[in-house]
């Protein structure tokens, strides 16, 4: 466990910077610092949290914020499924704890280290995961405390930080040319829906749905051509 805890430290530093920035933003849009800390410990999903907080702050709808945040977390179905061998032999309680403390960083590090040495397993995942969730919770809370004492930073363009964060997330999710048409469709449908007066939360659902339809049609065309 100690091996995992030490190995993850450089990645934890990067997460701490991101966490501090998220906490600052969350406090600026009205979340109390302890609520931000509670959220980080209970949810432990950076991009989901930032999306949910932004959606809740801008639309005021609980359901829309939760739906958008949860949808962004769907990749964890695959991430957790890939841990089946690593988690073998653990009790159910420890498995549930392990999947909660699993994040992108410590999952990737565990899998990479396991590829080099089969001895790397659940203890490494848990050790690195405990460090990550602790650092994430502490850094987001610290950012939120800072956010509550600072003046309103919106006039300096801080509100745009959410948009910039989403752009960076999109870059991270970019996998190549097959995504072009679905992404263009999603963006166009969202802009059209919002411009027509639909609430933002519905515009996002409409955009994602149009993108999925485009992606399904593209896959069908590829299958037919094969």
């Amino acid at each position: 466990m100690k091996q995992g805890a030490l190995a993850i430290l450089p990645l934890a530093f990067g997460a701490a910077v991101y966490g501090f920035a998220f906490g600052l933003l969350a406090a600026q849009v009205g979340f109390p610092w302890w609520g931000v800390g509670l959220m980080s410990a209970a949810i432990h999903a950076g991009s989901s949290q930032i999306v949910a907080v932004e959606q809740f702050a801008s639309t005021g709808t609980v359901f829309g914020a939760v739906l958008a945040g949860a949808a962004l977390n769907l990749r964890y179905v695959g991430i957790v499924a890939s841990l089946a061998e690593v988690l073998e032999g653990l009790s159910l309680r420890m498995r549930l704890l392990a999947i909660h403390v699993t994040g992108d960083e410590n999952w990737a590090l565990t899998m990479a280290e396991r590829a080099k040495s089969p001895d790397i397993g659940a203890a490494f995942l848990l050790g690195s995961g405990f460090v990550m969730i602790s650092v994430w919770t502490a850094s987001t809370t610290a950012g939120a405390i800072m956010g509550t004492v600072l003046p309103d930073l919106e006039r300096f363009g801080l509100g745009f930080a959410f948009t910039a964060a989403f752009i960076a997330m999109a870059r991270g999710l970019w996998r190549g040319r097959p995504q072009v048409l679905p992404w263009v469709m999603a963006a166009a449908a969202t802009i059209a829906a919002v411009s027509l007066g639909l609430p933002r939360a519905y515009g996002i659902v409409a955009g994602a749905a149009c993108g999925l339809i485009a992606s399904a049609l593209l896959r069908r065309i590829h299958v037919d051509m094969a």
């Binding site: 979340f31 989901s48 005021g60 179905v77 695959g78 745009f160 930080a161 910039a164 996002i204 896959r219």
Partner: protein
């Protein structure tokens, strides 16, 4: 903290953990199904829609800052660097009075 804040935190915690448990219990079967591509495609589509909804109806300054942030994202693939460059661009364009 209002009831709505509690609801966002509580429901998202349940949903996020539910996704992980789904991966633990049925991840292999879900990944093997013919609809597994939805799991891969949906996060990107949601994020693109979020960007689009943030830009819809916004003034030129926001679109300009978004273009600069996109360039930073392509160059760095770093969230913090993109946020810093994007906010600086937004402040700079606003200051220039464009």
């Amino acid at each position: 903290m209002s009831a709505s804040f509690w609801a966002v935190i509580g429901l998202l915690a349940v949903a996020a953990f539910g996704v992980r448990v789904a991966g633990l219990l049925a991840g292999g079967r879900i990944r093997a199904s013919r609809h597994a591509w939805v799991l891969d495609d949906l996060p990107g589509l949601i994020v693109v829609s979020l960007v689009a909804s943030s830009l819809a109806g916004q003034p030129l300054v926001t679109w300009g800052a978004a273009a600069v942030a996109l360039a930073a994202a392509i160059a760095t693939n770093q969230v913090i660097a993109t946020m810093a460059v994007g906010v600086a661009a937004y402040a700079g364009i606003t200051w220039l009075g464009v």
